[in-house]
């Protein structure tokens, strides 16, 4: 009886664990099955056709996502680094502890609320939707990720490295800049890549900031489309052609996200901090 219970439990654990993978395989399989027939060179380099017409592509979404992520990185990376270094320097003090909790809370803010904030701070002031308000919303999600990974990475640098540098008469800021930061570049970069793979799929914060745009746009003050937003709009549209395009967009997006995260894994292995 005892043995039977043990076996039964193990069976259930393995059964449920494998059942968890079923949706994953289904999602990946369906994206490839439905997406592969849509994605071709023309799909990648042309703009959408009016509703109901066949053909057309999603160039506006691809360029939009790249621009949104680029400007979000421009805002979030330097500020996130500063915040991360602050958390590292004050890690044993009360203020560091409290602000680390602040970062955790900021990271937990639902993405739709981030969209509201960017709307109130930027869109409402400017009077219209824009690329920059979308990037700002994404940067609010990006920033805590960088701050946390920077702090965790810097913590791993042994104190004797810093002491060795200081004992050579090198000033503290120079030590941080020339010794500590370069030796933790792998961890910091990995945080950045993690953030990029995370924000490139975000949709909710873009709904009322970047909004969407059927044309190409490089102006940061004008609305812009993005791959996740196109997936959302196309899925719920009544047009068959658009619904197919939603799968095509998903295929591009998932390949992008997978590439970024496997590159991240590769870097983590290669640049692992070891002393």
């Amino acid at each position: 009886m005892k043995i039977f219970k043990d076996r039964l439990f193990k069976f259930f654990v393995i059964f449920f664990a494998f059942l968890t993978l079923l949706p994953l395989f289904s999602i990946i399989f369906m994206i490839f099955k439905n997406g592969i027939s849509v994605v071709n060179l023309k799909f990648l380099i042309s703009l959408p056709k009016p509703p109901g017409e066949t053909g057309g592509g999603v160039l506006n979404g691809i360029i939009g996502t790249l621009l949104l992520v680029f400007f979000a990185s421009l805002i979030a990376i330097p500020l996130g680094l500063l915040a991360g270094i602050f958390l590292y320097e004050y890690r044993d003090k009360k203020v560091g502890e409290v602000l680390t909790t602040f970062v955790d809370i900021t990271q937990g803010i639902p993405s739709i609320v981030v969209g509201i904030i960017s709307y109130l701070w930027i869109v409402k002031k400017m009077g219209h939707f824009s690329l920059i308000s979308g990037s700002f919303a994404l940067s609010l999600i990006f920033l805590p990720i960088i701050a946390k990974s920077t702090k965790e990475t810097l913590k791993m640098i042994p104190i004797y490295i810093i002491e060795a540098s200081l004992s050579l008469g090198i000033s503290y800021p120079r030590t941080i800049l020339k010794v500590v930061l370069p030796s933790s570049i792998g961890g910091i970069l990995s945080g950045i890549l993690l953030g990029i793979s995370r924000i490139s799929g975000e949709t909710a914060p873009l709904l009322f900031t970047a909004f969407g745009n059927p044309f190409l746009n490089f102006n940061i003050l004008k609305p812009v489309s993005s791959l996740p937003h196109l997936i959302f709009v196309y899925t719920l549209s009544p047009y068959d052609n658009w619904r197919k395009h939603a799968w095509g967009c998903s295929l591009i997006l998932i390949i992008f996200v997978l590439m970024v995260s496997s590159f991240n894994k590769f870097l983590l292995k290669k640049w692992k901090i070891k002393f």
């Binding site: 043990d6 449920f16 664990a17 968890t20 994953l24 500020l79 996740p228 959302f232």
Partner: protein, 289 residues
């Protein structure tokens, strides 16, 4: 010496930014909710009539929708996330097999939520429709049940990633002591691992709850977006996040916008409390070890 000062100032900007950002997010949400808070007061949470045309805003259907979808998805996901964490941290710990398994489950967390929505819209709602037909309720497909099912898949990696870490932390000598008394693995899991790891497992479940409450896109795409009070889980509904996503750009009146922002504020506060609580448990766990 000025270099040191510059460095200090620079990182202090970083610190001030963290502090100022969260504070101003809260203040912004609060100030912009004021018109709605003043006008509707507590009725905002208890009333079920949501009518932008006549400027009547009662958010109870959406609060109920959020609670229903989150808790149903939580209950569905728990056996799965526990199994995953036992699988990788106990039964097949440090094997090649478990490494692949962990990578795959992490992948589940990496899929953008809008893709879950797309997949759910085309492949989960038909299943729900069949269930609805069996129960002879209107076969809408899109429903609270469909949203809960999608959510339950999305939150598995969040609960399991914390649970597997605490299960790995269970001291080997405790387990060995159990085995030497003739306990089976099941008994070890039940009487040694679970009691030892329970607060960590609980923290992971809380984190996944926080995630479920705020999830927007996947839910919006399969929940049906009805502003009526749902009578059962087979009916379409709305969550706090999905009603914001649906109506924010179309909000015309100042009160409508303010009511939606107040919903955002409520969502912000609930997730804040849950995340704080989960963090507190995780920190306590770390100190105890």
């Amino acid at each position: 010496m000025s270099g040191t000062r510059l460095y200090k100032n620079a990182i202090n900007i970083g610190g001030a930014l963290i502090f100022g950002l969260l504070l101003s997010i809260f203040i912004t949400l609060f100030v912009n909710s004021l018109p709605s808070i003043r006008k509707y007061g507590f009725d905002f949470i208890t009333s079920s009539i949501w009518d932008p045309v006549f400027e009547k805003f009662g958010a109870f259907p959406f609060i109920l929708g959020t609670i229903l979808t989150s808790f149903i998805s939580l209950i569905i996901s728990i056996p799965f996330s526990l199994s995953v964490s036992l699988f990788v941290a106990e039964y097949y710990e440090n094997t090649f097999f478990s490494k692949i398994f962990e990578t795959l489950v992490d992948l589940l967390a990496g899929i953008p939520s809008v893709i879950y929505g797309l997949w759910g819209f085309f492949y989960v709602t038909p299943i729900v429709r069949n269930i609805q037909i069996k129960f002879s309720v209107p076969p809408t497909g899109v429903s609270i049940l469909a949203a809960s099912l999608i959510l339950s898949i999305m939150i598995i990696p969040y609960a399991s990633s914390i649970a597997k870490e605490v299960i790995k932390l269970v001291p080997i000598d405790l387990k060995e002591a159990g085995y030497s008394l003739g306990a089976t693995r099941y008994e070890i899991i039940k009487n040694v691992i679970f009691p030892y790891a329970k607060s960590g497992i609980f923290a992971g479940i809380l984190l996944s709850l926080g995630r479920a409450l705020g999830e927007t896109m996947a839910v919006t795409m399969v929940i049906g977006n009805s502003i009526q009070l749902p009578k059962n889980i087979f009916q379409p509904g709305n969550t706090i996040a999905s009603i914001i996503a649906n109506e924010f750009t179309e909000a015309v009146g100042e009160l409508h916008l303010s009511a939606l922002i107040e919903l955002g504020l409520i969502l912000f506060l609930i997730t804040l409390i849950i995340n704080l609580f989960a963090n507190f448990i995780i920190k306590k766990q770390e100190l105890g070890i």
